[in-house]
Amino acid sequence: MNANDREKHFLGKVKDLLNEGVENLDSQTRLRLEHVRIRALRSAAEKRSRFFTPQRWIMVGGFATATMAAMVLFFWLHTSPGVLPAKHFEDFEIITSKEYIDFYQNLDFYRWLATNEDYPAQGKTS
């Protein structure tokens, strides 16, 4: 028997003894191990199915309904009675127009300017 065979033989015997030690475990330890295994498997099953429970769906649905109701109530109470800032159709056109907003903001100035421009012209004629 060479060194390699001797080592194989030694390791084979060690493995046999270790297996024997496992087979000879006392019944109490075996029972406790089985109990641990069952609990571990149950915990995995519970964890996976926890999301899909009817209670969870009821809770999520209830929360969504309550949120929706709160939003509807909020908008219903806080919405103004339909009075637009622009009372006349012409004002509405002014407000919605972006291009001439500066012009309309300075409308008084342009009116004043137009009024004053008339005087020199009158002065020239006179």
Binding site: K13, K15, L41, S43, A44, R48
Partner: protein, 184 residues
């Protein structure tokens, strides 16, 4: 993602297959039945939680990876605690006491002498394995007992293949020196 009845059975069979060897490994490391059971429990829970959806072929290595990691953590914690207790002048005294009834041969057995010799061999082996440093112990048990390849053992222990070879070789050398009697 839900565990089907079939996959649950497969998982249960796998755990039933490894649980006793895992317990013995944990007991070699901790030398205490309750601590070993706790280590196996933590390993099983984490394995089922994290890896039960992985392919069955990967389970063994992943299971032992968790167990080795737990045992290493436990060893670190215990070493610190022992140092602290030693500093306070107290021993921890948590090792299991041997059952005296186990030393008696069963007279009903067909060959009580052989049974006694086997039992003595087993005790000598377990004692020798316990004397190994933790990493050598782990490498030896994974390679020689679980039959893992070097790469698998390296993954399970979270170290290089070179380290596994070194630990395993040292462990075999030490055990052969300690177990002269059972070599024959």
């Amino acid at each position: 993602m839900e565990l089907t009845l079939n996959s649950k059975d497969t998982l249960s069979r796998f755990l039933a297959d490894v649980e006793r060897r895992a317990f013995k490994m944990a007991k070699f490391a901790s030398r205490n039945t309750d601590e070993a059971l706790d280590l196996v429990q933590e390993t099983m829970f984490e394995f089922v939680r994290r890896y039960s959806a992985r392919p069955e072929g990967e389970w063994k290595v992943l299971f032992y990876r968790i167990l080795q990691s737990r045992m290493t953590d436990w060893h670190r914690r215990t070493t610190v605690r022992k140092r602290f207790l030693a500093w306070l002048g107290r021993g921890d005294g948590e090792e299991d006491q041997e059952d005296p009834l186990q030393n008696f041969a069963d007279p009903a057995s067909p060959n009580p002498y052989d049974q006694t010799v086997r039992r003595e061999d087993m005790k000598a082996l377990e004692k020798a394995v316990r004397t190994l440093p933790l990493r050598q112990q782990q490498a030896f048990l994974l390679r020689a007992w679980e039959g893992m390849a070097v790469a698998q053992a390296a993954f399970a222990m979270g170290c290089s293949e070179g380290s596994i070879k070194t630990h395993y070789s040292r462990a075999v050398h030490a055990l052969r020196g300690l177990l002269e009697d059972i070599r024959s």
